[in-house]
Amino acid sequence: MPYRARFGRKMECVSLPPLSNFAICGGTHGNELTGVYILREMQKHNVEKVGSVSITTVLSNPRAVDACRRYTDRDLNRCFTDDLLSSPITESTPYELRRAQELNAHLGPKGSEEAVDLLCDMHNTTSNMGLCIIFNSADWLILHICKYLQSKITSMPVRALQMDLPLSEAFSVDSLGKHGFSFEIGPQPHGVLRADVFNTMKEAVDLTIEWLQQFNSGRTFEGGEVEAYTRWKTVHYPRDPTTDEITAAIHPQLQDNDFKLLQPGDPIFLSLSGETVKHEGDALYPVFVNECAYYEQKIAYHLTQKSTLTLPSINVKKD
């Protein structure tokens, strides 16, 4: 990975093309309300251009938003792999697959020159994760945005999470943009709008737009280091071997302790009959602990490693 600077040598400043269009998505999951309301406000105030940046607001899954459900047929935020985006549409195609292809035409096509420069998708989680910036591949731009937000936002912790899938396998809506990431803020129950979460999301979006303007107008953003959580490993709930029903809850000592290092021997599950299950193996950082939407796949949380990514200074490439 070409991230670490050679010891003792400062990385050279990297020049990148300007970012003229920015798409902001909400309601990709219809019951994650913060993004829905942020979009509503932006649309009410006709936010279309801020300085050098054209802004497109997109309600990703209107049907799910109307029903206040995560999805109608299937999870929209898993529909953006290359395979699914090119699958033929028939009468029986689920709504979200159709919608994904519509969004691809509107904001992409994924991987092409026509794709929007930057795409940000707004999400909520029931997990106690504060503000997370989730991206697939860590390009300098996104890491600088992370660094900028981390330096400015004080209302809750701001952390970077990296998925690192090959682009063809990247499945979320933010993979449509040339650069893409999601804001994930929790804890917030699905179907609930908390003012503190709304205010932090608004601040994050405003700061992103502010960063884009400064970048486009020639400011050099100093390099440095960003910590990111990577190499996701999924942990499933203990289940009954015959019925496949979940037989334990997240242990009270793990509940709400996302990003707190989990050591071997630490409790992770408390079974319904009162037994404690302990973590075995490497010391790792848990994320998405007790996220509501993951019960469907019986996922309890993911484990990650912490990496330090080194960034060069960046500025906009002048013609």
Partner: protein
């Protein structure tokens, strides 16, 4: 009344999944259906029961209509069988199995288990201030378990503004909605689950003691009497234009005084509580109530005297 006498409570039902995504009750009842030893008591016939299995299967509040508002006299006598909304059919079936109210076959006590996204702790919802049996049970639980002393609250909803819930129609006296939060819909939190489990354990112990003839002396109980429902500020199209203010969010059971922040608009303006006196808000920012036009509910704090009770 210095001593109230009631018939023994022989048949007790524990309902879970009245709302299919309120996971503590769903999980407890499923557990007890498989192995009911924990809820067995001498001379008590305890039946755990999932009231809305289709909603539980889909992990949704309801399929056609809210079961906990479905027990109207019209619904219970409606004809049409399979054409009726699912929850209306369920209400009729539940009424057949556990009721009807006033008949000798009706169950004596029903616990209906719920969760809320509001920061309400453990709340017992009663329909009447004369509900001495439940007031005594609350007192017993608080006295028996020091952890629950401050955690357990009682809320009385006046019958008129109370909805036609599962329990109101079925039992003559011993009806208790148990609401525990905060917990997101669809999520099982271990601490919330264990709190509900412990409360029910003590509640069943109380019933057993009562049935054995123990007299519970008069006691005073603090309750919160529901006054009114406050909706979100909305625009002409019915869209919400403000959120529960951060100062009020999570402040269930804390005094809200006239002039205190109540809502925060999307562009940062604070709206203040304009009432004439201090109230105690609850059900603050409950997810299911957005569609019922309810941001929170106001209550008045009262001290009730429960008369002594003993088995007849």
């Amino acid at each position: 009344v210095s001593l109230a006498r009631f018939d023994e409570a022989r048949r007790v039902a524990i309902f879970g999944g009245t709302h299919g995504n309120e996971m503590s009750g769903v999980t407890l009842v499923n557990l007890w259906v498989k192995n009911g030893s924990e809820i067995q008591r001498k001379m008590v016939d305890t039946k755990p029961f999932i009231t809305n299995p289709r909603a539980v299967e889909k992990c949704t509040r309801y399929v056609d209509t809210d079961l906990n508002r479905a027990f109207t006299p019209e619904n219970l006598s409606a004809l049409g069988e399979g054409d009726l909304p699912y929850e209306v059919q369920r209400a009729q079936e539940i009424n057949r199995i556990f009721g009807p109210k006033g008949s000798p076959e009706a169950y004596d006590v029903i616990f209906d288990l719920h969760n809320t996204t509001s920061n309400m702790g453990c709340t017992l919802i009663l329909e009447s201030s004369k509900d001495y049996f439940n007031l005594q049970m609350m007192n017993y639980i608080k006295v028996t378990d020091i952890r629950l002393k401050s955690l357990l609250k009682a809320s009385i909803q006046l019958v008129e503004c109370c909805f036609t819930s599962v329990n109101i129609v079925l039992c003559d006296w011993f009806i208790a909605g148990l609401e525990v939060g905060p917990q997101p819909q669809g999520v099982l939190r271990s601490n919330i689950f264990e709190a509900m489990r412990v409360i029910l354990k003590h509640a069943l112990d109380f019933i057993e003691l009562f049935n054995e003839g123990v007299e519970f002396p008069t006691c005073t109980v603090e309750v919160f009497r529901v006054l009114e429902r406050i909706d979100y500020p909305r625009d002409a199209n019915g869209n919400i234009i403000a959120m529960v203010h951060p100062n009020l969010q999570d402040g269930d059971w804390e005094p809200l005084n006239p002039g205190d922040p109540m809502f925060l608009t999307f562009d940062g303006k604070t709206l203040h509580y304009q009432g004439s006196g201090t109230i105690y808000p609850t059900f603050i920012n409950e997810a299911a109530y957005y569609e019922k036009q309810q941001a929170f509910v106001t209550t008045r704090r009262e001290t009730l005297v429960a008369s002594a009770i003993r088995k007849a």
